[in-house]
Amino acid sequence: MPLWFWPTALLVVSFALGVVAVLGGVGGGVLYVPIVGCFMPFHLDFVRCAGLLVALAGSVAAGPGLLRRGLADLRLAMPMALVASVSSIAGALIGLRLSTRTVETAMGLTILAIAAVMALAGKSDYPDVARSDRLSRAIGITGAYVEESTGSVIVWRIRRSPLGLVLFAIIGLMAGMFGVGAGWANVPVLNLVLGTPLKLAVATSKFMIAVTDSTAAWVYINSGTSLPLVIIPSIAGIMLGSVLGVRLLAVVRPRRVRLIVLVLLATAGTRALLKGLNIWR
């Protein structure tokens, strides 16, 4: 096989994943790690490191625009990101110590669970938060943004922040262990548990991935798992794919793309599980 075959294939697959991720409303990492890790020859250690950096690059690129438009909120993200970034270090250290088969099995089950959560979890455009909780009031987590489609000002506050912090600790652990980013879980927790408007949840989730994944990424980098031939084509592919995905967003039916995302996740999750159980290597 020529040297450039797999890096080129990685660029093409990452590009396609970048398109699908934007259209399907998920971060790139959750699709990237199981698909590249299970269908390409790169070892999961290198793929998880690249997965974290792919998610991180997407977040850093989107962050400035989301923050400037007020769609992502720094003060909402900071306490949640703090907890998640601590646990993502633990996740990375645990994940790198486990055997490959154990990681594949656990990742397979996790990806299948993520697909189930995505298929079943509801969403609420503007959750009704009658009263904010004591912790969020004490810190001052509340805000407002302009809903550009209507021009109205949306004032928001959050509830159940202690539960949210616990859930973000779990999300961080899984993100560090499997290198899958965290958008798939951030959004439902921000929207359904904390009660932030859906648009704010999506944007804040995208922005905070750069914080939560960075600590885990450092552990992977310092542990010698950063391979430029895997990382750079992946980042380039997914970023270029995201640009095309944003352009296609207006003309593609989201429900159909979401179905594609679910099928991809189910296929990759099953493949990872079967690989881990040594049924289909």
Partner: protein, 142 residues
């Protein structure tokens, strides 16, 4: 609460605008460094610690075997060999991983000036965690 402009429309708090600026500049810088170092690496303009044609023989190995086979150093020891074109890629990768830390560093004085001590404490805690993570002290030794 977000600052509200006289028109009643909420405006972006200064710390959020400052954070966005750091991310924006850092992202552009990281992209340039990543592309430049990767070009040097793939074009063979500088020697690499692991010759590029040998990498496909190693990328299926678990990282511990890869590290042994290629004698790749852990932690920040690569920085002493940054002239090697494969390690030079780590400059852009580390910049990408470190942008959020720089942004947190930028907003700390703003929270201090606004006397928002809860957020200042969160910023300091996050910076410490990032520092520990980046330091190389937490390395998965196989």
């Amino acid at each position: 609460m977000n600052e509200t402009a006289p028109t009643g429309r909420p405006t972006i708090p200064p710390e959020q605008a400052a954070y966005a600026r750091v991310l924006s500049v850092g992202c552009a810088l990281a992209a340039v460094v990543l592309l430049a170092t990767f070009a040097v690496y793939v074009l063979g303009l500088r020697p690499a610690h692991v010759p590029i044609h040998d990498v496909p023989n190693c990328w299926s190995m678990p990282s511990r075997e890869y590290l042994q086979a290629t004698k790749t150093p852990l932690g920040w020891q690569w920085a002493t060999e940054v002239a090697d074109s494969d390690f030079a890629n780590n400059v852009g990768i580390c910049l990408l991983a470190g942008i959020s830390g720089l942004a947190y560093l930028r907003v700390a004085p703003i929270f201090l000036r606004k006397r928002q001590f809860a957020f200042l404490a969160i910023v300091v805690a996050e910076l410490l965690i990032m520092l520990v993570a980046a330091s190389g002290l937490l390395v998965a030794r196989h």
